[in-house]
């Protein structure tokens, strides 16, 4: 891994330069809500943020993806969509969200390759930004992550004062840096030390902690435990936890038509919604919130590790921050572990 530095006052120039060849998605502040949006100008970017409200999975796995369009009637035909080829950069992605992409790769490029996700993933470069100040419910360090990890990004920037410490972690990353070579210089020993200091400070600022040893087996044993009923009593059944989750990836597919034409779209779905498992017969195998909240926990901490050997949680804390009734995933896992 090469280590470079980029003076802060050259960041704008760097972005302006790469903007010529790439669509840039970056954190934008809309009335105090941080969301990733495609930007036209550097000035739109808000770098003073903890994390975005909606995770950047929404760029690769869009909330509404048009799969193809069609015409109806005598001249019926299918029109394919070819919008996956634009070259993208996600700028300012946090290490936890970048990790979620590596987790999502498992499911989108498993037995069935999902062309929509995979194509965009290939065409996207991740420029990460280390967390200097973790949010109150961050627990990435419990999930094999770190607020300053370069593992899942192509380039990682870490704020070390008047410059960014730059770690290049892939060929994609080094190729991009080559195109704007003049902006970067080699990191000194003191720069490297500063990055380590930032890393330590940031890790120390994380106070929440989830223990997951043996959780897969434990969950196998307590499927019918009353814990799930108890937890579900206060659940409203809204979709905040799943839509804000960087690893949740379920979708629904619908044809949306007028009399003459239409499109097949896929839209984020949520297992918190009763309709998610509703059969055409009217039968619902997950009839109550108890079944649905259990599914959310099991998918992340039991089924996913069994299938892909990784827990489908990166510790971003979004579901804890925004649950309207304070259902706290750390607390739920703690309670599950304590069941005798």
């Amino acid at each position: 891994m090469d280590n470079l530095v980029l003076p802060k006052n050259r960041l704008k120039h760097f972005i302006d330069k790469i903007k010529e060849d790439y669509s840039i998605f970056a954190p934008v502040n809309i009335d105090n809500i941080i969301l990733y949006r495609q930007i036209k100008n550097f000035s739109e970017i808000d770098l003073n943020f903890l994390n975005s409200k909606v995770p950047p999975k929404s760029i690769l796995f869009k909330q509404t993806e048009t799969m193809f369009k069609f015409k109806l009637g005598a001249k019926a035909k299918v029109e394919s969509i070819d919008s996956q080829n634009s070259k993208n950069i996600i700028f300012g992605i946090r290490p936890c969200d970048a990790k979620s992409f590596s987790i999502l790769d498992n499911v989108f490029s498993d037995e069935y390759i999902d062309p929509y996700f995979v194509k965009k993933r290939e065409n996207t470069i991740l420029i990460g930004l280390s967390c200097i100040k973790p949010d109150v419910n961050c627990f990435c360090t419990s999930m094999n992550g770190s607020p300053t990890s370069a593992d899942d990004v192509d380039i990682l920037l870490t704020d070390i004062g008047d410059k960014y410490f730059v770690e290049i972690n892939s060929k994609k990353g080094s190729d991009l840096v080559k195109t704007v070579k003049g902006e970067f210089s080699n990191a000194t020993v003191s720069d490297k030390k500063k990055k380590q200091e930032v890393e330590k400070k940031s890790k120390d600022a994380i106070t929440r902690n989830m223990k997951t040893e043996n959780i897969v087996n434990k969950l196998d044993e307590i499927f019918d435990h009353e814990l799930w009923k108890k937890t579900s009593l206060k659940c409203l059944g809204c979709g905040i936890c799943t839509f804000e989750c960087p690893t949740c990836h379920c979708f629904d597919i619908q044809d949306e038509t007028t009399l003459r034409d239409g499109a097949r779209v896929r839209i984020w779905d949520t297992c918190m919604n009763p309709e998610y498992t509703l059969h055409a017969s009217g039968h619902n195998p997950r009839p109550s919130r108890e079944n649905r909240i259990r599914n959310r926990i099991y998918h992340k901490f039991n089924y996913y590790p069994k299938n892909y050997n990784v827990i489908a949680c990166v510790g971003c804390g979004r579901c804890i921050n925004d649950c309207p009734v304070n259902i706290d995933i750390i607390d739920v896992i703690d309670q599950a572990r304590e069941v005798k």
């Binding site: 969301l35 109150v136 919130r289």
Partner: protein, 327 residues
């Protein structure tokens, strides 16, 4: 400040009743200033019960969310009552739902608490950012008293109270079986200042404002799910045949959803503000609700959720009803 001891005593009495299955109140949450709904099923749970100015949740949603699954063989029908603790605004939701015959008083045991206003979670987390540890919060006449391990802060209520509480006309529960504490005298009145000034803006300006808001909507439907008055068996937005609102998340469908949600609450919304509190992307939903509340008041001189004997606004007709807004 509510007498916690008295509250727990009354709660205990209710839970111990044969005909009550559980009592819904609040307990401390898992971090910071979070409180969380508590379902008390035995008198052992009483010591967890708390009421303080952080108890913002309108718990009336829970009786409406109760799932009635098919009964197993030989299982007796569940006729037990639900106990519930309500503030003034919350209690109006019960009355409004009773007006609509969605709840029966016989099925509830209600503890009412006169409320001096709750703390705005956004304001307090801005004042005390990044707090993992939980706090004790109390109040006196003019201040919220916030206790941490190291320090006690006394903060004037005006700085932290939820905006809508400042003009609350109903601090006292309008329906209850037991009242904890003394009734509060108030002369506050909704002034609709914000709405009146917004109404004066040009149409294009208003449209642009709402486009910017609805563009953020992720259609998680938390606004609907947290609302006690949104209790349709199947929400219109979930229907497929016909499909009133498409599943695509875009400005057009998001606008349809948000306007539909607001209109379905016209003459019904009791302004508890829960929809706006839970919205993850910060859409100012109470602004829509307040506009409809104002129109309903001006046109029909009607306020929802005050008297359970009243008929719901939209199911009555009077020959002299205003009609000049009909095109």
């Amino acid at each position: 400040m509510v007498d916690q001891k008295k509250l727990r005593e009354e709660a205990k009495k209710i839970i111990e009743r044969e005909d009550v299955k559980y009592l819904i109140g609040w307990e401390k949450g898992t971090y910071g200033f979070q409180m969380t709904p508590l379902f008390l099923t035995s008198s052992d749970d009483v010591n967890r019960l708390v009421f303080n100015p952080l108890c913002i949740h309108n718990l009336v949603v829970f009786p409406m969310l109760e799932e009635k699954l098919p009964l197993g063989k030989d299982k007796p029908e569940d006729n037990k009552k639900i106990g519930i603790i309500v503030k003034g605004c919350d209690s109006r939701a019960i009355v409004q739902i009773m007006q609509e015959k969605g709840l029966k008083k016989d099925n509830l045991v209600i503890i009412g608490i006169p409320c001096n206003g709750v703390i705005d979670p956004k304001k307090i987390s801005k004042r005390f950012p990044q707090k993992t540890k939980t706090f004790d919060v109390e109040e006196d006449d003019n201040n919220f008293i916030i206790k941490t391990d190291e320090k006690t802060y006394k903060i004037p209520k005006d700085e932290l109270v939820l905006d809508k509480c400042k003009t609350c006309e109903f601090p006292n529960p309008v329906i209850y079986d037991v009242l904890i504490g003394k009734e509060i005298k108030t002369s506050a009145k909704s002034d609709y200042k914000e709405i009146t000034s917004f109404e004066k803006k040009r149409l294009e300006e208003k449209w642009k404002y709402w486009e910017r808001q609805f563009e953020k909507c992720i259609r998680c439907y938390a606004c609907r799910d947290v609302c006690p008055l949104c209790y349709c068996k199947e929400c219109m937005v979930d229907q497929l045949k016909p499909q009133w609102v498409r599943r695509s998340v875009n400005i057009s469908e998001n606008t349809a959803w948000n306007i539909m949600r607001a209109l379905h609450l016209a003459g019904r919304c009791v302004d508890c503000g829960e929809c706006e509190r839970v919205c993850p992307v910060g859409i100012p939903l109470t602004k829509l609700n307040k506009k409809l509340e104002k129109d309903v008041l001006e046109l029909f001189n009607y306020k929802p959720g005050i008297n359970a004997e009243n008929k719901p606004l939209l199911s009555i007709f009077k020959p002299d009803d205003a009609e000049d807004f009909i095109l």
